[in-house]
Amino acid sequence: MINKQVLLVLLMLLLAVSCSVPRGLPAPEELPYETKGTAFYVKLHDGSVYRGELIAAENDALYVLPAENQHPNMKRQSGVVQIPWDAVDNYRVYYAHGKSLVWFVPVYTIVTFSHGWFAFLTMPFNLIATLTAHFTSQHEHVLRKKDIAPEELGLFARFPQGIPTDVALQDII
């Protein structure tokens, strides 16, 4: 029974780890020099999902510049997608990449082979601990809907003031 529970926890952790953060995020120390909006994930009530750069978060809508080729079926009038707030179900902000601790996972797991009988206890404990540490480290700089209110999203947008009046959406790349 305990083994099944441990396996379930491990499976969940592996699934969680597989929900990786986007590539190409800046390091935390590069944030003061970032000029673009952060990587953004938004899921709509109709189930569709957009991933890309957060361009602006205004009172009535979000503006996202989807990453190229990520959504081949998406219809785009211009580069930027305008998403009304009432269509938004969930969102996440990825503002920097975390430290990778993935090497702890195989190393600590292999070490438990030296524990003999105790490995049945120490191996799952080490797997859970290292996978948890790696997962949380990778998601250190991720903000979920509950972590950041819609009115705070501007902090991470390319245009925190909203879309500039003189800039046309189709000109934004």
């Binding site: 120390e29 000029t35 003999g116 105790f118 290292t130 250190e140 705070e152």
Partner: protein, 536 residues
């Protein structure tokens, strides 16, 4: 008990510390926006270091200032070295920047975001330290971590905590080969094929000459038990324990059920040879011709520790000395014999209330800390008319008791001997191995990690059998490089010829071992309670 709580506290604290260290920091205050230059100046004045500054321009462009910048409120300008980018973040120019406050729609400051990386890595380092410590310990005392002797499992029970038997634990050299009989303690059998899995979970080479199932037919409510001298008795009726005491502790709840909730005491810190007593009381069993006492018990890791100490002391003579044991023609006692003499088994005494004395009934002794032994002792208490009082005497920290009860002996019986019909090596049927097992003179040689499955056919003539396993053979513990450095023949001599002094001298070292290994090893699965006068 206190030690148990402390250990759990440490483990829970470690887990809690690790989890809390793992929690990400969800704090967005490293970044701030100001619509007014005065607010920016006020905020900057609160900081010891000037924050990084970005000026978001009305046209969508942005100016990144380097670490030094200044706001001149009289001229309403922001100055400093920086870089200018347009609304698509294409580079425009860099160098000395003079930006009118009016052209800025938002000032953005950034500090380094907080994170938990350091505490996360610290926690993993602590875990790494514990892993290494346990690894080193297991290398130093491998028998404590890597098992011992062939272990036998029923289908579905694959963890060593559920091993049903461990074969010929004392046979550490060819010359010490013997047949070991263990009760498999199965409440009902369904007939037909009976599978048994044998594993080598140690750094040892196991040499199995014979493996037989001993089966005795039984009716409903009957059990068959074997005694220390391997005689078999059919029994019925179970007289439950009504009271068990160790010192001032009531340990009845630990000993009244066959449930692996074990009674166990810690060793004496001053002398490993130290006796303890457990007092048992049973209700009047009524008119019974022959009464028997049945117990479930196994050893702690004490003998394992001492045996490995002996190997350590042998150093590079390990192989030679074991070979000597095998070819010796005299009856000189082995170290295992010496340890038995010193530490003894579980001796039972029956209270004679008329003479007001304890009368010796017998002693149980089985080497091995893994599988629980289930054995019978005949009591000299015909037609008891009163409550039965029994005293157990045993070495402190040496034995684990699971249960005790009385039973009525019906008759002495002779079991059927059943040979394996099929043998599987790593799930593959192997006819050659079967022939080896049936040969009687050949050995099945099992190396670390090997798993064999034996299938026996129970005779259809009876519905239900009590089953025992009879295993004949010997094993050889693999020598280790560390032993080359640790030769200590004087200690070996002391262990063999002055064991009393040796056991006194090594008590403290064993206590250190016991503190870590006993609690961690058994606490991981089996419920038990440690009773020790030194830890109350």
């Amino acid at each position: 008990m206190r030690q148990n709580i402390i250990t759990r506290f440490v483990l829970i604290s470690l887990a809690a510390g690790l989890l809390s260290a793992c929690s990400p920091v969800r704090d967005i205050r490293f970044r701030a926006h100001y619509h007014d230059a005065n607010d920016l100046l006020y905020a900057a004045a609160q900081e010891s270091d000037l924050p990084y500054l970005k000026a978001h321009l009305k046209d969508g462009g942005i100016v990144l200032f380097s670490e030094s910048w200044d706001v001149d409120m009289q001229k309403e300008i922001v100055t400093g070295d920086g870089q200018h980018f347009d609304f698509n973040r294409r580079f425009v120019r860099d160098g000395e920047m003079v930006v009118s406050v009016d052209s800025v729609v938002i000032f953005e400051t950034n500090k380094m975001p907080k994170n938990n990386d350091q505490s996360r890595i610290s926690s993993l380092s602590v875990l790494g330290g514990l892993n290494t410590a346990l690894g080193i310990y297991c290398l130093a005392v491998p028998k404590a971590c890597f098992g011992s002797c062939p272990t036998f499992y029923l289908d579905g029970d694959q963890e060593f905590h559920y091993a049903r038997a461990e074969g010929f634990s004392n046979a550490i050299a060819p010359g010490l080969e013997y047949t070991d009989i263990d009760a498999l303690n199965i409440y009902t059998t369904t007939g037909g094929t009976f599978p048994l899995t044998m594993k080598n979970e140690a750094y040892e080479t196991h040499n199995v000459r014979s493996l037989k199932l001993l089966a005795v037919p039984r009716e409903e409510d009957q059990r068959v038990y074997h005694t220390q001298d391997d005689k078999f008795y059919l029994a019925r009726q179970r007289v439950e324990l009504t009271s068990a005491r160790s010192g001032n502790d009531d340990v009845t709840y630990l000993l009244n059920k066959d449930d692996q909730t074990e009674y166990f005491s810690l060793a004496d810190p001053d002398n490993l040879r130290s006796t303890e007593e457990v007092f048992l009381q049973f209700d009047n069993p009524g008119n019974i011709q022959q009464l028997g006492l049945v117990a479930g018990f196994r050893q702690s890791l004490m003998t394992t520790y001492l045996l490995y100490n002996a190997f350590d002391h042998m150093g590079n003579l390990y192989g030679d000395l074991l070979a000597t044991v095998s070819i010796a023609e005299d009856d000189a006692p082995t170290i295992a014999d010496v340890l038995y003499e010193q530490l003894g088994g579980i001796s039972a005494y029956l209270r004679n209330s008329h003479k007001n004395e304890w009368v010796y009934q017998g002693t149980w002794y089985e080497t091995g800390p893994i599988a629980i032994n289930h054995q019978l002792m005949l009591l000299d208490a015909a037609h008891p008319e009163e409550e039965i009082h029994i005293k157990l005497e045993m070495n402190r920290g040496m034995w684990r008791l699971d249960y005790l009860h009385l039973t009525e002996i019906i008759e002495k019986v002779v079991p059927l001997e059943i040979q394996a019909e099929r043998v599987y090596a790593n799930k593959k049927h192997d006819e050659d191995l079967l022939q080896i097992m049936l040969d009687g003179d050949a050995y099945l040689v099992s190396q670390p990690g090997d798993t064999y499955r034996f299938e026996f056919e129970l005779p259809a003539i009876h519905d239900d059998y009590e089953l025992f396993l009879s295993a004949t053979g010997f094993y050889m513990v693999w020598g280790r490089e560390e032993w080359q450095k640790e030769k200590d023949l004087y200690s070996l001599y002391m262990m063999r010829h002055h064991p009393g002094r040796y056991l006194k001298k090594h008590a403290q070292a064993y206590k250190e071992y016991e503190k870590v290994m006993e609690e961690a090893f058994w606490g991981s699965r089996v419920k038990h309670q440690i009773i020790s006068g030194h830890d109350k």
